[in-house]
Assembly symmetry: C2
Homo-oligomer: 339 residues x 2
Amino acid sequence: VTTIYDVAREAGVSIGTVSYVINKTKRVRKETAQRVEEAMRRLNYQPHAAAKALALGKTNLITLVYPVNIYEFQMVIDTVTMAIGYALSDTDYRFSVLALLREATALEELEASVNARAMDGVILMHTQLHDQRVDLLKQVGLPFVVIGRCAENEGLHYVDTDIDAAAHLCIQHLVELGYHSIAFVGHEKRQADTTSVIYRLLHAFRHSLAEFDLPIDERFFIGASDPMHMVEELTELLRSKDHPTAIAASNEASVICAFKAASHLGLRIPQDLAVMGFAESPLYPLLPIPCSACFNHVRELGTLAAKMLVTILEGQEPENPQILLPPRLIARASTIGQA
Amino acid sequence: VTTIYDVAREAGVSIGTVSYVINKTKRVRKETAQRVEEAMRRLNYQPHAAAKALALGKTNLITLVYPVNIYEFQMVIDTVTMAIGYALSDTDYRFSVLALLREATALEELEASVNARAMDGVILMHTQLHDQRVDLLKQVGLPFVVIGRCAENEGLHYVDTDIDAAAHLCIQHLVELGYHSIAFVGHEKRQADTTSVIYRLLHAFRHSLAEFDLPIDERFFIGASDPMHMVEELTELLRSKDHPTAIAASNEASVICAFKAASHLGLRIPQDLAVMGFAESPLYPLLPIPCSACFNHVRELGTLAAKMLVTILEGQEPENPQILLPPRLIARASTIGQA
């Protein structure tokens, strides 16, 4: 796909100049305009909406917004980021990430970028159930798409995992394999009531346990922000009387910690302890005992969000403005054993 | 630390308004100005250089620039990003990442952001030996700091690992433990002649092998972009006659692949195969056999680069404009065995 950046390189001008030539909004020297037109012809470039908007003071920038403190040890976030990047690389947009730095004043940080008209559209990630950033973007009318959901989603454009179905699939898989004592590992406790994905995961997990007539043991909900502490807490739990025989781990760090605690105690995976992740990670097939997962559509979350936002920026309403992706079991040795 | 975002929240105004009050550059309603001044007093806010510059059309934004296609499976990049974020959260700057999407026209993408005056300063990462982005930033006079180096570094502000010393330390550690047949794993072949860190690593590794009078076997340099192919290539190499007994792995994916290949072949780590990483990763202590590393200053690379750039943006010359951080051995079970 040819983009405005290819035309700029071919003609030896800035993308602003290309846009002026397309839109005839500003006088450009005749020879320069000819060079741009020839470059467009040679490269068979079809101006996108973004190229047209550029001359009207737009930025050609789409910005992913989320708090910087969730970066570490979450390869799924990098997968989302790359997927958005690949989707946008076929368009005239550029891509930036606004990493919100200050938890208490995250809203003011986003507002500063909004006021500076720093981007044409926003993809929001790691949403709160009641998210002030969503309120701000609605209020100023800046186009945005959420990866995730809020408590109230009326009129919201979003792409999310069907978390209820994913939790159900996870418990069902473990129950069918004979595991009836299942722990949930990996949420940060202070986020359990406020952060959409963690709230929903915990809720869906409890609901699914009840559906399968399994008891709910509060000791079996382990959350810690620091992997080393998580290993300690898990080791203690696994050493206790009536310990769990299976672990549903919400993210990569939790899976690694579960493996580590099992190794400490000489527990065999999956004979003594089954381990199951939620979102597939590039790490899981590479682990010594490859790890099962509930869904494999992390890349799709990013791709669909990027495409939905571009559609909105082109002035169209997306066909499906609220997408819930269904889970799909990826069964590996950490639950089903070696083939 | 109180920032301009705290003052804005406390006074219920935008950071632009706070800046106007500080600089008296624009008329602000008397009651609003009083509210801002009271908020500054209450929070004991000392205006930073950034707050002063804001009223002069600055953006208060510092941007990390690197290609999006190096994201996946590189937790060290997230560590750098988080470190920059934490360093900047004490200042009046915000932080964004410009993920360059299009390899062929990366320069035009950066140029578009530069022309839009989208940021006050840039941190460049994953530099090429001859990097057009460096030339562009020099030419337009936009302040920038490099994490890494180029071939020519005259006048450049940078923070990098002392890669020569790191490679030496790695080989020395392995040789002292009796490993004399060492493979290097993890570079992408097509980047070996162009990308600074990969070129330097390969060069330093060969040089260190020679220093210890070890033979250089071209079969022992394994590079692949896809982890699954890397596992295959490594398995084949480890199965061959005269196979290596130790692996120096340039990144996390390579370490995981080495563990996987060893497990395929029933090789014990470190008795049959020692594995050593370069940059410490949050993953390494959590692996079933914790992995050794050559240095633990990834976070520091980000922190120092951010602080150096803020110094420059404040109009001062940094005390040490070219920083090479020395390696420090982190010896774990993957080389020295269980304690």
